[in-house]
Amino acid sequence: MTAGTAAPVVPDETGPTTGRGRRPSARRRLRRALPPLIVAACVVGVWFFVSYVTLSPSRRFLLPPPQQVISVGFGDSLNRANILSGLGVTAEVALVGLVIAIAIGTVFAVVMSQARWLEDSLYPWAVVLQTIPILAIIPVIGFWFQYGYTARLIVCVLISLFPVTTNTLFGLKSADRAHRDLFRLRGASRWQVLTKLELPGALPSIFTGWRISAGLSVIGAIVGDFFFQQGPVGLGRLINGYTQQLQSDQLFAAVIVASLLGLAVFWAFGLLARVVVGPWHESQQDQQSD
């Protein structure tokens, strides 16, 4: 190639490298899914064993066999209706609580990221908020906010606020130094740095925070309901009631549904992160497991 002429680029050496990993084949997926499925089978096996062999028939209510949990807990139309409506109530509280926690936590983190002194004066209180044993203040929250829907929401927000805040703050602060220099050189305003550099760069951490908080807000929704025993009936109150009435089939069915809700939330946020951040961020590449 000679200087002075507008020579075309030779494509091979400088051409694009294949950015994305290959889609895993169905067989590879199966091979990955197999080990956890074997573990699940083992767990169910132990469950059967404990139910039928370890426990005498008179004590079998402590751990009813799986098929009985399914047939009574989900097969019976009244139980099914109760559990599904409880699921709806809990999911709604968890979702609304999560949205509020995300809003507050993000604003909190953005404010702290804007100045060292703001972070220094606010962050310790975020830590304090996190270290308060939530079970210890649940009665106080109920006491102040009448044990109803609002109180349950507040528990949810309190329990899920911290991961949003810390992960967002960490993400905002971890913008590359050279990128910061670049923005400074081009005379970028603080707002431009925030919206064009810090926030988009923080997205992977932000989604990690959302994912952790989502799991916590499900816990918060159940715990609040469990303790307050008022307002619309959610999974927490159902679990409490079933325990007290020794309805173990329904109890285990409700516990399974609560776990599935947590799992669904975890998956949904993982998917969201992969869709938004996947095309450019390393952490989302070649990730086939979850």
Binding site: T14, P16, L182, R186
Partner: protein, 245 residues
Amino acid sequence: MTTGPVLAFESVSKTFGPTRAVEDVTAAVAAEEIVAVVGPSGCGKSTLLRMASGLSEPSAGRLQVADRNIGYVFQDATLLPWRTVQHNLELFGELARQPKAERRARAAQALALTGLTGFERHRPRQLSGGMRMRVSLARALTMRPRLFLLDEPFGALDEITRQRLNDELLRIHAQERFAAVFVTHSVSEAAYLASRVLVMSSRPGRIVADITVGFGYPRQAALRFDAKFVAVTAEISTALAEASR
């Protein structure tokens, strides 16, 4: 356009605590001139560029730049990984609040100039190191600066890609006629690109030699084997070896 130097250091020094990073540097870069700076690692070459760009202030002395609009290219391409090539090229325009049509036009021009047309929708991670560096150059070109500061831009690339990009840079320079300060570890790269080579010593960073490379432009790759070119590189290497002692 000013007739004086585009960039002038007058007895510029920079200290970091007890460390004298740059000491008493006086140098000027004229319009359209390419000046290379070579020196051992940690001799303050990058510090010199950071001061020239305004990213850091000299501790003593005076620094003059004709225009604050400077194209700074780092060793790392520093592209925003979440943006496509097209949107990376529009970044500076966005920061300067240019209208969309103008950003588009400038990006298209820079793409054509750097041979990147067709890669608009790629993301940085899909590109090789050489291609990323082209995007980085193109991004600086969108602002049409009269002065480029290049901090070992091709230092992380393999030799073949590096030589190709050297030719690309000279070709772009022939069209755009900007002035440039090019920091490098490579003596042959310095001699091939520049009309003048400044040799720096380390701790404290001083300019110990100012060597004129007596070849005009355009330059051909075969120049690297020319006896006179080899003599110049030998002169630079000798000065560099002395400076590193």
